[in-house]
């Protein structure tokens, strides 16, 4: 008798459990929804516009700094120069076009390298013809290159070897001599240039 009662209750209990399992199973099969990057991109535009409003205080958003691994070099000595970009606020960028002026009669420049976070440049060159180091970064990602405040990005590094004594400069080109060689940082979303400041790196070369 007891066994019969047990079986009688077991059947509906099992049926309920199987039903519950099915519901759980089906809901697990749905999984997480794919991120809609297009929506994210659209949201990013709104955020960027808001940030742009905040930056209209006249302060440069980025500081581009040229530094060398020494203050003085001997003729023939190889030095390393870094061109870094430091941001003051969060921003997303569509492109960074860098032009660094130098004197090709005074320096041999090579080993041009870039930050891993940057995409491969569409164009880069040590142009002895123009006395310019050129790197054009265009970011295809709809969200752009997202940089946080105080994020430091190494736009380029290069080796330089001085061939004559004297004081010589490396500096960011702003396009005064040739408008195609204007260093420019363009914001994602608004498509507007972002302000920046830069220093002049003076290298002293001795015998």
């Amino acid at each position: 008798m007891n066994k019969n009662n047990l079986l009688k209750y077991l059947v509906p209990v099992v049926a309920v459990i199987v039903l519950a399992e099915s519901v759980v199973l089906i809901s697990q099969l749905k999984g997480k929804p794919l991120n809609q990057s297009k929506q994210e991109g659209e949201n990013q535009v709104g955020e960027v516009v808001d940030n742009l409003e905040e930056t209209r205080s006249g302060d440069e958003v980025y500081q581009i700094e040229l530094t060398a691994d020494a203050t003085e070099y001997k003729v023939g000595q190889v030095g390393k120069v870094e061109v870094k970009m430091l941001g003051k606020i969060d921003k997303s960028l569509d492109s960074i076009n860098v032009y660094v002026k130098y004197d090709p009669n005074m320096f041999e420049v090579n080993e041009l390298k870039f930050d891993d976070r940057l995409p491969a440049p569409v164009f880069s060159k040590v142009s002895t013809l123009r006395g310019l180091l050129v790197a054009n970064f265009l970011i295809s990602d709809p969200k752009g290159l997202e940089l946080s405040a105080n994020d430091q990005l190494t736009l380029m590094t290069f080796n330089m070897k001085a061939v004559k004594t004297g004081n010589y400069d490396f500096e960011i080109s702003t396009g005064k001599e040739m408008k195609e060689s204007a260093t420019m940082i363009v914001e994602n979303g608004s498509g507007k240039p972002v302000s920046f400041s830069s220093n002049k790196l003076t290298v002293k070369v001795i015998e």
């Binding site: 066994k3 099969l29 999984g31 991109g41 204007a182 363009v186 498509g191 240039p193």
Partner: protein, 465 residues
């Protein structure tokens, strides 16, 4: 008794089913094994590749994934025709991977598929690349650097049936990591014989069409004469008196300043106004493009004599010559008011979406970086003036905006940002419409417009620097 046995059997079965059910719930069930989780297009850029024998020509392989699918692996076969070669002993040296998207070039091998020469490229993002770092959308996979070995035309194409693209499927528990190749577009190439092959030039005292191995006597050409091409014939003409070529005024991508003469006006050559005829093309715009109407693409034409006389003519509307084919051709025949020079002319052409390009010779197929120009044989008669062919060196597209939201004569980040933003919208217009960022004139905004612009920038920078 029998009932009891049956009850026990059924009861045991149900308990087993219960245990199995509990085990099943604990595992992920995916009934979509072997399916694709997204799609992608593949294409080769530029759509028209030109080069000369002995040089390298580059074909860029692109992916454009849908739904921002991230790519982790690529296995593609790219086929090519006569005139292009890849080093059989070291094919890897001619495939330059975009390491920003795919870190490891696993294998590059040559094979023959249905009689065509092909190169198979296998690349992976690399074990160290986290899903968040994988690239999506428009991705340049690699540059394939072919050696141009002989004059030929052909196609560089991707075999869609052999393409396998792997990606990261963000769906929880997903095991489908394949991305389907929905379309694959190739590129046409034209390789011509060396830089001077086929041009008119002096061979001793004769004015002939030169070939690379032509033997000529080493004597100076006759004074006061030039050897020029007129209507596909090499002819001798009187040379224009050479004034001092103004230095520093030769446009290299910027418009010549003003329309007034900037040098000493030569005497004795001015006649009635010359007529100028030419055929030209816009980079990336096909013959069947439906949103590249000449009325929407008025030209600015500037002519410059060897003496430095410059005249500019705005809003020149061309005539579309063809409505099919890979290259859209546009023709102009115009009177050059106030410009009576016949020989030694250079022509500068610009359009609302393009940089200014200098044409110095007929049938020009590359950048003309010399001072002055060699276009000759212009007449004051519209019917007899020659029709120069500039279609082999199309206008570079991409200059669509500037700091003041107007064209500024430079292709830069401002143009890129504008075209990219527009391409994300995927806007389409009706046939005959116009979108300033529609680089190929196909009435739709897409990643190919961005790719066209990036190529233009690369080409222009190569010319400038």
């Amino acid at each position: 008794m029998k009932n009891k046995s049956l009850n026990i059997v059924f009861g045991t079965l149900m308990v087993v089913a219960l245990i199995a059910g509990v085990v099943l719930v604990g595992q992920n069930q995916n009934t979509q094994r072997g399916a694709y989780f997204s799609g992608t297009k593949m294409f080769i850029m530029p759509e028209e590749i030109t080069g000369t024998v002995g040089t390298n020509v580059v074909a860029q392989l692109f992916l454009d994934t849908e739904k921002a699918a991230k790519v982790s692996a690529v296995d593609v076969v790219v086929c090519y025709g006569d005139g292009l070669e890849i080093n059989a002993t070291n094919p890897e040296s001619q495939v330059i991977l975009n390491t920003e998207a795919l870190k490891d070039l696993v294998d590059v091998s040559l094979e023959t598929v249905n009689g065509k020469r092909c190169v198979r490229i296998i690349a992976l993002a690399g074990a160290t690349m986290k899903p968040a770092s994988l690239k999506s959308g428009l991705i340049r996979v690699a540059n394939i650097r072919f050696k141009a070995t002989k004059a030929a035309t052909g196609v560089v194409s991707v075999l869609p049936g052999r393409a396998k693209i792997g990606g990261y499927n963000p769906a929880a528990g997903a095991t489908d990591n394949s991305i389907k190749v929905s379309s694959a577009a190739g590129a046409k190439y034209t390789i011509t014989g060396g830089a001077t092959a086929g041009s008119c030039g002096w061979c001793g005292l004769e004015c002939v069409r030169k070939t690379p191995n032509m033997q000529c006597t080493a004597i100076a050409p006759p004074e006061g004469k030039v050897c020029v091409e007129v209507n596909n014939q090499c002819v001798i003409r009187d040379s224009a008196p050479t004034g001092t070529e103004p230095t520093g005024t030769e446009p290299t991508g910027t418009e010549p300043t003003g329309s007034e003469p900037t040098g000493t006006e030569p005497t004795g050559v001015l006649g009635d106004d010359s007529y100028l005829g030419f055929k030209m093309a816009f980079y990336g715009v096909r013959g069947d493009a439906l949103c590249a109407d000449p009325e929407k693409l008025p030209l600015t034409v500037t002519v410059r004599s060897n003496g430095g006389v410059v005249k500019t003519y705005n809003n020149i509307v061309s005539t579309k010559v063809n409505s099919s084919g890979d290259v859209g051709m546009y023709q102009v025949k115009m009177r050059l008011d106030g410009f009576g020079y016949r020989d030694g002319v250079a022509v500068f052409i610009k359009s609302p979406k393009s940089l200014q390009v200098k044409y110095g010779v007929n049938n020009q197929s590359a950048y003309y970086g010399m001072a002055g120009g060699e276009l000759s044989g212009l007449t004051s008669d519209e019917t007899s003036t020659p029709m120069f062919d500039f279609t082999k060196y199309p206008l570079l597209s991409g200059d669509v905006t500037g700091p003041n939201q107007v064209q500024d004569g430079v292709i830069d980040g401002l143009d890129f940002s504008y075209i990219k933003t527009e391409s994300i919208k995927r806007t389409e217009v009706a046939s005959g419409g116009y979108m300033s960022a529609d680089m190929n004139g196909n009435c739709k905004m897409e990643s190919q417009d961005v790719a066209n612009m990036m190529l233009s920038l690369s080409v222009k920078q190569g010319q400038l620097y």
